[in-house]
């Protein structure tokens, strides 16, 4: 699962989830594998409560840096 982000090769699974699609359950199960970590890269809930699935690029960059050469699932 080698993917390119910002011209760097890295590994990862990005879970794009419609609300109420069992995403939390799916991520929890995937993270049971020893070599897969979870990184939550969604923006914090804003006052309108409608951005739970919106991505925070800064969080993504941190997740990529922390998981260099290892697998992680980002939700």
């Amino acid at each position: 699962m080698i993917q390119k982000f910002n011209n760097k090769l890295t590994s990862g699974i990005l879970l794009a989830s419609q609300p109420q699609s069992a995403s939390t359950y799916t991520v929890d199960k995937l993270s049971q594998r020893e070599n897969i970590r979870i990184e939550n890269i969604a923006r914090d809930l804003d006052p309108y409560g409608v951005v739970e699935q919106d991505l925070d690029v800064k969080k993504l960059e941190v997740a990529l840096a922390l998981n260099n050469n290892s697998s992680f699932v980002a939700k």
């Binding site: 699962m1 993917q3 990862g12 699974i13 990005l14 879970l15 794009a16 989830s17 419609q18 609300p19 109420q20 699609s21 069992a22 995403s23 939390t24 359950y25 799916t26 199960k29 995937l30 049971q32 594998r33 897969i36 809930l45 804003d46 006052p47 309108y48 409560g49 409608v50 699935q53």
Partner: protein
Amino acid sequence: MLLVLTGNFPDALVSLVDQYSLPNSAKEGAYFPKSLDSYDIERKCDYFIYFHMHWHLKFFISWIRYDEFPKVWLRFEDFKENNQAYFDQITSILGIERINVEASVSKDILSDDIISKIRVNRGIKGRGRKILNARQLELIKKMIELAGVPYEYRNYLLTGNV
């Protein structure tokens, strides 16, 4: 690898109403109506159709249009039907070891207490279409059309059928 988890809109909306109707649902800090808890089911569904549907639609369309990385579409309806087969599909795609999961998490075999703890859609397939009225279903259909969702996805979003 991009895994896209989807579900039909009527079931998802009713599940969303369920979630925010729970006494411990995290509504604090968000601009939900203060009287949301007092809304009847029709009014709650109206609220989420008007204020959340457009958001769901925009994400859905963005996933259709995104083609930078390999993308795999996964249906919540398949998860409810047979969640072991659903995870077998995922682990096969990712090339990782099989993950054993509990038997189907449908409401038919698990208690409400357990289901509420695992925070999954508690309804069975088609529950949304039974709870939403004809006006609301027509409104969802109209929004899907107005948003320009490609034809091949529309029936799925409305019914869960492919």
